[in-house]
Amino acid sequence: MSTWTCERDGHLLGCGVDAESIARFERPGGTAVEPWSLIFTEGEVAHTSTLDRPAVALCASFTVKEAVTKALGTAIDFRDCELLFSPGRDEQDVRLSTGLRDEHGIAGWTVRVTVDDGECVATALLFGRS
């Protein structure tokens, strides 16, 4: 078990957690019909192709999008949440689009991804303005 503390100005809008199996992202092209263009930005796809294990990065990114969705409690366009995954780091730099931030009043966020035992687990904390 790991602990995680963070300090932010503003109130907590929501907290979302998601876990996904990396194996799910390891099949060539994903599933029978690859849904990547619905999920990932061109930047994410380009970034993952530069990494040793693209499936981990794809899984981490998808997990983060699901965690942010859960934190907001409503559906989002997954491409409004972008993660250029940095292997070996728990805390990840996630970009949320201006449209998404404005729509939900998001002023700050902290996202953590752990990779272990063949799965990625993401936790997203979203904060509103003070």
Binding site: E34, L38, I39
Partner: protein, 102 residues
């Protein structure tokens, strides 16, 4: 459903059943409208997105993922029958599905 003829409904049904049979490695004959996607087929959200992509490609539909997500929050799709109802509406209404009361 007035906007879709019977032949198209049959075609969509065959497509959806074959999709889940292939993805979940089960016989198409074992899949019914009552089959639970998560509990019985071990399906997941990624699988649903793949099906959505296929439907949109095959039927030249444009829909925002956010729109579909909002619809699914109102009316979750748990069984094959739910997916078929959703897919028929998707083919008929496209992006207007969010205003459809299934």
């Amino acid at each position: 459903m007035p906007g879709i003829d019977e032949a198209t409904r049959t075609e969509i049904r065959d497509l959806v059943v074959q999709f889940f049979a292939d993805e979940c490695d089960v016989e198409p004959d074992s899949i019914t409208d009552e089959t639970h996607i998560i509990e019985e087929l071990e399906g997941d959200s990624l699988m649903l997105l793949s099906l959505l992509r296929k439907i949109c490609t095959d039927y030249s539909i444009t829909i925002e993922l956010k729109t579909l997500g909002k619809h699914l929050m109102k009316k979750p799709a748990n069984t094959i029958g739910d997916i078929l109802t959703l897919t028929f509406a998707l083919v008929e209404h496209g992006d207007g599905i969010v205003n459809v009361d299934l």
